[in-house]
């Protein structure tokens, strides 16, 4: 199954309160498909969250285009959009607000099953339980509200919500940044294994180079709304071209003890 998201010369401008324009994303080209694990690194304000929102059709470019299998996301019909979401799913950033506080976790996980897979409740629950077990989560926890489970558990639920429809591309926006370092590792391994076992692609967006470098094959570095560096992880780490990347890599070497 083909599943390709193509960014062509994408620019996204926000208007400030005083009327001043600010390009959050400027001239970005990207190609995402199910064959690679792509990492996008950048500091906060570098435009990576805007890229994620556009990649999922939650926001649309001011200029340029974001296309899924050749069709612009901005002009997709509702059924086509559902077919797109069936293949491209999100593991969201903020663990404490990525679930509606008034609803149970199972409610949240049933949504994609109903909307995207058109399963009935029994079939949805079976699929949910299978996914939760694969992520070593107790299905009984799904009866709880989001604030009644730990941050690590909630993030696994967030992953489960994405995986339950068996997407071909998983987009992770700061998926581990809010977690303890001890939990980060297990979540990263889990994601990596899933992608390897199911031939799924991954887009891993983070401000932290270590986690991104660990999980990705390809790396894109964003700085002030532009892509300043891209290539295989090894090349970006050892043959750095842009000064901003150099500072990232230097910091990475100090923390990870990588020889220069």
């Amino acid at each position: 199954m083909s599943a390709t998201i193509q960014f062509t010369d994408v620019r996204r401008v926000f208007r400030g309160r005083g009327g001043a324009e600010h390009a959050a994303v400027d001239g970005v080209d990207l190609l995402v498909d199910s064959s690679t694990r792509l990492g996008i690194v950048g500091e906060s304000g570098s435009g990576k969250s805007t890229v994620v929102r556009m990649m999922l059709g939650l926001d649309h470019p001011t200029a340029g285009s974001v296309e899924f299998d050749g069709v612009p996301l901005a002009s997709m019909s509702a059924p086509a959009l559902r077919a797109f979401r069936r293949q491209v799913q999100l593991v969201a950033q903020d663990t404490s607000s990525s679930f509606d506080p008034r609803r149970t976790l199972r409610d949240a996980l049933r949504k994609p099953c109903h909307n995207l897979l058109e399963l009935d409740t029994a079939a949805a629950d079976a699929a949910i339980d299978r996914t939760l077990e694969a992520l070593s989560l107790d299905p009984a926890l799904a009866a709880r509200k989001p604030h009644q489970v730990s941050g690590g558990q909630r993030q696994r639920f967030s992953i489960a919500r994405a995986l339950v429809v068996e997407p071909t591309v998983i987009v992770c926006d700061e998926a581990v940044s809010a977690l303890d370092v001890s939990v980060q590792g297990s979540v990263l391994n889990l994601l990596k294994e899933h992608c390897e076992n199911h031939d799924a692609g991954l887009v891993f967006v983070s401000h932290g180079l270590p986690a991104t470098a660990f999980i990705s094959e390809e790396l894109v570095v964003m700085y002030q709304g532009r892509v300043v560096e891209r290539g295989p992880v090894g090349r970006v780490l050892f043959e750095t071209e842009h000064p901003y990347t150099q500072t990232l890599v230097d910091a990475y070497r100090v923390t990870e003890g990588v020889p220069s």
Partner: protein, 285 residues
């Protein structure tokens, strides 16, 4: 006039979980009120709308609360007025709150849009602010001039007075909820915008208006009585606390305290009872 002025500070008063098992004690005064409203006209010893004895009799054996300057029984009228005042308060609260939530929701969701819809939403939002510029009692006064004084017209007038604040409260909350990550998550899970608003935005942003509903109820009752007091509310001899207080006011100035005191006490007790219910339901201070 005492009013529905509540401006929850967004940072400290995030959604509160409701306490289970509402303490039934605080509901007793409210229950008695409802009972009086329903049964009142049957229970009263005298006709509440007719002259039944000599005017200005002090409280005593036959007339527990005395008679007013026209000779109507104050006890019967105070009890019989419960139905009118409560009815107006209740319908106003339901209308102002539900319409307020609806308007706040629509305005909040569309305010930052471009095009005519966005402009309209911003216009409504500004208009809601502007209505606050005029005291509620004056808006009520004008609207009564509009529709004449009757229970339906009072209800409409008071709804118009009290709706803007409810809408503003909800709008502010919608603006906060709109940025929550779970909305994007629900979109990615395939929810349409309509489902999103109905299932996520509405339940998560209507609580300030619901919390404020008991204050709206109190305000509606006080405003009804206030308009009655100014002489533009329900016309005597229809039993209504405000007009009873107005009729009793000159008497109070010359020492005949009873015909103004009892409806005033009934009014204050009602406002207290209702705010008690509100506090129990929402755990507000």
């Amino acid at each position: 006039m005492a009013l529905a002025l509540d401006t929850p500070d967004r940072d400290t008063r995030r959604r509160r979980t409701r306490r289970p098992g509402i303490a039934s004690v605080t509901l007793v005064p409210a229950a008695i009120l409802v009972l009086l409203a329903v049964l009142g006209p049957v229970l009263v010893p005298f006709s509440p709308i007719d002259v039944v004895d000599r005017p200005d009799l002090p409280p005593g054996g036959a007339h527990w609360f005395g008679t007013d300057s026209a000779g109507m029984d104050v006890f019967s009228r105070t009890i019989a007025a419960t139905r009118n005042n409560l009815l107006i308060g209740l319908i106003t609260t339901v209308l102002a709150t539900s319409l307020g939530i609806l308007i706040g929701l629509v305005v909040g969701m569309n305010e930052s849009r471009r095009g005519p819809v966005g402009t309209l939403a911003r216009g409504v939002s500004r208009a809601l602010d502007l209505v606050q510029a005029v005291p509620a009692i004056i808006i009520g006064l004008v609207l009564i001039a509009f529709f004449g004084a009757s229970i339906p017209s009072l209800t409409v007038a008071l709804t118009v007075c009290l709706l803007p604040n409810q809408a503003r409260l909800v709008r502010a909350e919608v603006l906060r909820v709109r940025g929550e990550a779970y909305l994007d998550a629900a979109r990615v899970s395939g929810d349409s915008e309509l489902v999103l608003i109905a299932k996520h935005v509405l339940p998560n942003s209507s609580w300030p208006a619901l919390e404020n509903a008991s204050l709206v109820f109190g305000s509606a009752i006080v405003l009804t009585a206030g308009l009655g007091f100014l002489g533009v509310g329900l016309h005597p001899p229809t039993p209504e606390w405000g007009s009873m207080i107005a009729i009793g006011a000159p008497g109070a100035a010359s020492g005949r305290w009873w015909s103004a005191l009892f409806p005033a006490v009934a009014l204050a007790l009602t406002v207290f009872a209702v705010s008690g219910v509100g506090r129990r339901l929402f755990g507000d201070d």
